[in-house]
Amino acid sequence: MQSYGLRLRRKRWQLRAFRKRRELTPVVDRTDQIRPGDILAFTTLRNEHVRLPYFLKYYREMGVQHFIVVDNGSDDGGREYLAEQSDVSIWTTEASYKGARFGVDWLNWLQRRHAHNHWSLVVDVDEFFVYPFCDTRPIRALTDWLDSTGIRSFAAMLLDMYPKGPFDQQPYRAGQDPLEIASWFDSGNYTISKNDWMGNLWIQGGPRARTFFADNPKGAPALNKIPLVKWNRDYVYESSTHALLPRGLNRVYDETGGEKASGILLHAKFLDTFRKKSEEEMTRKQHYANSHEYKAYSQGLSNSPDLWCKWSEKFINWRQLEILGLMSKGNWA
């Protein structure tokens, strides 16, 4: 019965994505360049021009072969910049981000169209994917290994990165590695519970829970993500990249004591660009739970804008994250 309900739900999201396709207008469609086996990146964005050069560079060097972007009404020149890139296909829309379930419907549609049988990475422009051996092996090594062991989805928890001192102390320049500024993180204050319905884990914690949600822990943002999936046209993301359907894809963790391989999404959100962004989002009210997060942030920002504490860890590399127990090599060696 339950699985039938989930099946209906999946069909519903597919139908919804199909309807929402009409909101998307292609700016440049280079998807005919995609060859079988290419690794694709999908992203939705709005006014992120300054972050784009480094974002593209990071994932190109990792081995992503094509970027598929939904631009939600940018007016800072980012859309034009992306249109010039030879490995980017871009769609634009003025429709409501919230109405498209925070962009999920748009990307579900584009993934259904273009990602079938490809490894597909869904990331925001402020998220930087880290996986075991990422300093010596390209992402293709990971996906080949996942293919050979029959694994279809790969978890990468969101790890909030922050600078030492107020966010706007060090201005971010285009092309710069944002982790040079936001290089600190919380290493061990995450809480996990299991969602029996969807089969995914619900992870909360980190600096945002510690500072903005200390009075309302339940409202703290979810950090569990499954961004890398060997896509099939029948799959859908349920809500953001936190969960997928069919729910077998959410079983990215071991329940008998072992560790499956997993990665991290370094979340370099807290730069000097953040204040402007949160002011904008407060008026647009287009974000999750009525911009509840941004509300908490803007209050938090005016009171204590520094997330750093003496127990913060400075990011070094993936091995550090592995030792701290935030990610795992699993049986990949």
């Binding site: 061990g188 822990p217 569990n224 963790y253 071991d254 004591g257 560790e259 127990g325 060696a333």
Partner: protein
């Protein structure tokens, strides 16, 4: 005399070509079997690319599927062709397209020349094999396997079950004893030709064609019929993970592979450019003359398998979230919980930190906030002292704290005034050392300046909470190391239990206690308890305190108050 390479290829043809060229260039004839599933176009290209070498030839093609007889057929026809076409070959080496020679080819030839009659093939009886997948070891040889394990797993499993139930057993041909081992071997012409030209071969072939994974047992079994000179090990370094899939080597394994002194390694990632470049060019190779020594690689892969199957004890994370009971360690290290001590001794925490060498926190589960050592608002791992965050998931709070402070023992205070949700978790955690002085919660009440009716009410409540907590500690499920004293017993002779507690903290040199904590003034405490009784409450957790005299004075009358424990 030389060695001939039989190569089974099904993917990454460009790499196979590179390796075949390498072998052939050093005078080793190569016979290649290409899986029939490779399409005609790529196959023709592959053959053309190697057309300039006259010591590389191609055998007739079979459609190969993992775990089936077709793989043996492929090696049979390629080996037959090898023996017929290249009379100078003395050893035949079976390799795959993703194998990579790690040492100079002349060194392999010399190594085999020094052992002209030796067959290198891993061959062990089924009883001694730990690596079988799917629980089938001896049954591989006695059941039938008409269905593909990869494509029709359901039918495969059902058919195995059915045969088990019916008790069906195939007859193993006379004279052979099933052996198994790595499918990558190196056999002498004598032995290999004896296997291939045996008049009974049709019988054996017929039998093995219905054995499961015959490529791991056909040669391994038959070689025992024809040769006594068997080195039961493979010259090919090939490691398997817990699901029976081969581990793959990447560029960052370069040094590891170099130092292994193995002749050939598999499986190499086809895009490991640096590995192919380093091992297939002359300059990168040094003659060492050493025996193969894969020990270090073995350890690394064994560790990887252990991480996948056992994981790190006490760790809860995105890809390790064990069911209750499957944690393999609910927390990652021992910790100590003290109940009633801070109430009974002034400055207990400071004293414990001085003598015990451990980190001593206050009441971590207090209702107002988590009282971390040094009254810090954030602690290791950026753990917040907020009561709401802690109570949102107390188990995660505790496991996080213990994980974040690996290498340093944690101690904290607990009592009936604290949030109790964590009780069951601690009681069932073998890493917890819980020491309780029951009834000590009454001491702060006794010393407080409050109306007696309030005190009585609170005393009743606290006693109820502590009773429930003690029931948990004493239940059959508790696995913690638990010590419980009633307060009356404890204050009578506190030194001995204190010494035991400090010894338990796990510091190396166990100090004799020289400094003792200061016991609070308990004169009149007996009367206080009597007053509670007079008000209709029954304080029983403290043990038997005499009403007028306190017990310590009775045993040791000249000691002045307040009592200092010696």
């Amino acid at each position: 005399m030389t060695v001939g390479i039989v190569m089974l290829v099904h993917e990454a043809l460009d790499r196979a070509e590179q390796v075949a060229r390498h072998w052939a260039g050093h005078g080793c004839p190569v016979v290649i079997h290409v899986d029939k599933r490779v399409k005609r176009g790529p196959y023709a290209g592959f053959v053309r690319a190697l057309a300039d070498l006259d010591n590389v030839i191609f055998s007739s093609r079979h459609r190969c599927e993992w775990g089936t007889w077709s793989l043996v057929q492929a090696s049979q026809s390629a080996s037959t062709l090898m023996l017929a076409s290249f009379p100078q070959v003395r050893h035949v080496y079976l390799a795959s397209g993703s194998c990579l020679p790690l040492r100079p080819v002349p060194e392999l030839i010399r190594y085999l020349d020094e052992r002209p009659m030796t067959n290198f093939i891993e061959s062990v009886t089924t009883q001694d094999v730990p690596w079988t997948v799917g629980g089938l070891d001896s049954e591989r040889f006695t059941l039938r396997f008409p269905f593909s394990w990869k494509r029709h797993r359901w039918l495969f499993d059902r058919y195995v079950k059915l045969q088990r139930r019916l008790g069906v057993k195939r007859k193993i041909p006379d004279g052979i004893v099933p052996h198994m081992g790595s499918q990558w071997w190196c056999l002498t012409r004598q032995t290999l030709s004896a296997i291939l030209e045996d008049p009974d071969r049709p019988i054996y072939d017929r039998y093995f064609s219905r054995v499961w994974i015959p490529d791991e047992s056909y040669y391994q079994t038959l070689v025992r019929l024809y040769s006594n000179n068997i080195e039961s090990r493979s010259l090919t370094l090939s490691k398997f993970d817990f699901q029976g899939k081969p581990h793959i080597f990447y560029d960052d394994h370069l040094q590891l592979l170099r130092r292994s002194d193995c002749f050939v390694a598999r499986k190499i990632w086809p895009r490991a450019e640096r590995l192919y470049r380093s091992f297939l060019t002359e300059g990168g190779q040094i003659m060492t003359g050493a025996e193969p020594n894969p020990g270090k690689i073995d350890r690394i892969f064994a560790k990887a398998v252990e991480r996948r199957t056992r994981g790190r004890p006490g760790l809860y994370m995105q890809s390790r979230f064990p069911h209750e009971g499957w944690e393999n360690g609910k927390t990652c290290a021992p910790y100590s919980v003290f109940e009633g001590f801070a109430e009974l001794f002034d400055g207990f925490e400071g004293w414990l930190a001085r003598v015990g060498g451990a980190r001593v926190h206050g009441h971590l589960f207090a209702p107002d906030k988590a009282h971390f050592a040094g009254n810090q608002s954030v602690y290791a791992g950026a753990l917040s002292d907020s009561a709401k965050l802690r109570d949102y998931n107390p188990k995660a709070f505790l496991t996080n704290l213990i994980w974040n402070t690996r290498g340093e023992q944690q101690c904290f205070q607990f009592g009936p005034r604290d949030r109790q949700d964590i009780s069951w978790f601690m009681a069932t955690d073998p890493n917890a050392q819980i020491s309780v002085v029951t009834g000590a919660w009454a001491v702060p009440l006794y010393r407080s300046n409050r109306n007696f009716s309030d005190i009585r009410k609170e005393a009743a409540q606290l006693q109820k909470i502590e009773s429930a907590h003690l029931d948990i500690l004493r239940s059959g499920w508790s696995k913690a190391r638990i010590r419980i004293w009633s307060m009356a017993d404890f204050v009578e002779a506190p030194m001995e239990p204190l010494q035991a507690l400090v010894d338990d903290l796990g510091i190396r040199q166990k100090p004799r206690l020289t400094e003792a904590p200061k016991l609070v003034d308990l004169s009149g405490f007996g009367q206080f308890l009597q007053n509670l009784r007079n008000q209709g409450m029954h304080p029983h957790l403290m043990g038997d305190f005499p009403v007028n005299n306190d017990p310590v004075r009775e045993t040791d009358p000249p000691r002045p108050r307040p009592y200092v424990v010696r």
